[in-house]
């Protein structure tokens, strides 16, 4: 049977993720060292896992409130206010979602009408542009560049605005570049946001993973931008909880109410045990000064320095990433495209990295390497990449 006429052409037209092909290739390679992962190498701290185990043993197997467990929302409120100076009421400004991914999806669906344009800085996480299309909108890539440390520039933002522009996705700390936006960078784009009355969807999933004396600044805490911003965060990266799928979205009560409408009809609620685990993560973190987060951050930071130094030692240009757990070196000097580089690196040296163009056209010429991997493996991978670069320059 030919199903073509049944399939929504708008969805069929969205190309599969550029990462997919590398995943298929890398999965067949035996003993490849992967720098292509996008999640922590730590396991969820045991006290968090144990809280979920106890919850199952105690028979807590029911739905939760649509917006999430009240005690979790309260902890999220305290956490955001204490860590990032953003105040959201647990009752009507916070919605617990299935990972930050659901938060992005319902934010776009709640806000977009057909033809609305959404500004998506590039390079960035692969799901934003397809998410916009699935919600009936039109993604418009805003380039960011290495010479600006991949920070969004007001003139680039301004240049992409049309009468149909409605939203700006602000993905910092950034996957794949590791770039961050500091307070002055956010202040610089604030006039553009105000002038064009944009709603900013700020994806701050890597907010805790910022290094070298820098601290993450929430755009909602800058100047008078608070009413323009919906903030998305979650537990995956900071607490090593990717598989639990718990995130949240916060913003004006009117906006959260609309998102909650989609959430309650299509999802009902995030899984209870994930929420229980998330509650334990925040409550214990508040009591012990976020010991787990700090421990993991120090370990990432050590590996981050190792990676940057190694890539520069190979003669590649590598801007210093202050956030997330990726480095994004330029491979232009090898004369290879980023896909050729990664394809051959995998085949010839058994090391997997992700070509930069998977994250948008202006990622061409770069590769994303994740340093959330054991140091001994990182060292082997770096030696092999160095060998590969020597053979190709």
């Amino acid at each position: 049977m030919n199903y073509d006429r049944y399939i929504n052409p708008a969805i069929a037209a969205v190309p599969p993720s550029g990462i997919r092909r590398f995943f298929d290739m890398a999965s067949t390679m035996k003993d490849a060292i992967s720098l292509g992962v996008g999640e922590p190498d730590f396991k969820t701290p045991y006290h968090i896992r144990n809280a979920a185990i106890n919850s199952i043993v105690d028979g807590e197997t029911q739905y939760t409130a649509n917006r999430g467990l009240p005690e979790l929302r309260k902890e999220i409120s305290i956490y955001l206010s204490g860590r990032f100076c953003t105040d959201y009421r647990p009752e009507d400004q916070i919605l617990v979602t299935i990972g930050a991914s659901e938060a992005i999806d319902i934010a776009l669906r709640a806000l977009l009408s057909p033809g609305d344009e959404v500004l998506v800085p590039e390079p960035s996480y692969v799901s934003y542009a397809p998410g916009v299309i699935f919600a009936g909108g039109t993604p418009v890539g805003v380039p960011t560049r290495e010479e600006h440390s991949f920070r969004l520039q007001p003139e680039d933002l301004e240049a992409c605005i049309t009468p149909r522009t409605k939203l700006l996705i602000l993905p910092y700390p950034n996957n794949p570049t590791g770039g961050i936006m500091e307070k002055q960078d956010l202040e610089a784009i604030a006039p553009v946001i105000r002038k064009h009355q944009l709603i900013v969807i700020s994806d701050e999933i890597y907010a805790e993973l910022v290094y070298d004396g820098h601290r993450h600044v929430s755009v909602a805490a800058v100047d008078d931008l608070y009413p323009y911003v919906v903030t998305i965060n979650g537990f995956s990266k900071a607490f090593a909880m990717t598989g639990w799928r718990v995130g949240y979205i916060c913003g004006a009560p009117e906006l959260i109410a609309v998102m909650n409408k989609i959430h309650q009809y299509s999802i009902m609620c995030a899984p209870r045990q994930g929420q229980v685990a998330a509650y334990e993560a925040l409550k214990t973190g508040r009591e012990n000064g976020y010991e787990d987060v700090e421990r993991m951050r120090e370990s990432y930071d050590q590996r981050r320095r190792l990676m940057v130094s190694a890539f520069r030692g190979m003669g590649l240009s590598c801007f210093e990433p202050y956030g997330a757990f990726y480095v994004f070196p330029s491979i232009v000097s090898t004369g290879l495209s980023s896909e050729e580089f990664c394809g051959r690196l995998l085949k010839e040296k058994n090391v997997a990295a992700v070509p930069g163009n998977a994250f948008g056209a202006c990622g061409e010429g770069f590769i994303r390497c994740c340093y959330a991997t054991a140091i001994d493996k990182l060292n082997i991978a770096l030696d092999r990449i160095a060998e590969f670069v020597r053979e190709n320059t």
């Binding site: 890398a26 999965s27 992962v37 996008g38 999640e39 799901s127 070298d212 050590q302 320095r305």
Partner: protein, 163 residues
């Protein structure tokens, strides 16, 4: 302790063969600073030695271990220190701890055979005049030591490539 010292100890605890240059890169300090900090911690006896963690169960070396709870009479002016010293000087003794609770010293002992170990307790440990009683428990299996899991599956379950 400085932040650098803490970071270095955490790195060395995981792998004491990391070259100085790498430790310098990873902590953001200069090589000389790292070298000085380590030498200084050795002098202060914060770092006592650099030794590998060995899973002897996978070797063919015969070996029996026991934990012995020891009750002693503390000595005037010396407390428990003098008797602890008498005990830890035996080659068979790997570790000695002063404990709170129903006994005084916990002694970890290693010997080649069960008989050797029993003989150590009977003829060397129990006969010390300040020792008033012992209770010996043999180690059957080692699951985790110094944060290292010996028998678990700690493999990487992550997708090879993810966005």
């Amino acid at each position: 302790m400085t932040k650098l010292e803490t970071s270095l100890l955490n790195l060395l605890k995981e792998d004491c063969r990391i070259p100085l240059e790498k430790m310098a890169v990873m902590t953001g300090a200069r090589i000389e600073e790292v070298a000085d900090a380590i030498t200084d911690m050795e002098k202060r006896r914060i770092i006592l030695r650099y030794s590998p963690m060995i899973n002897w169960d996978l070797t063919d070396r015969e070996r029996v271990e026991a934990m012995i709870e020891v009750r002693v009479t503390p000595q005037r002016d010396m407390g428990f220190d003098a008797v602890a010293k008498r005990i830890y000087r035996f080659d068979e003794v790997k570790s000695v701890y002063l404990m709170s609770g129903s006994y005084d010293l916990l002694v970890l002992v290693e010997a080649r055979t069960l008989k050797d170990l029993a003989m150590f307790v009977a003829s060397k440990l129990s006969t010390l005049e300040t020792v008033t009683g012992t209770a010996t428990s043999f180690v059957l299996k080692r699951y985790k030591e110094e944060g290292v899991v010996f028998d678990g599956d700690e493999s990487d379950h992550r997708l090879v490539i993810s966005p």
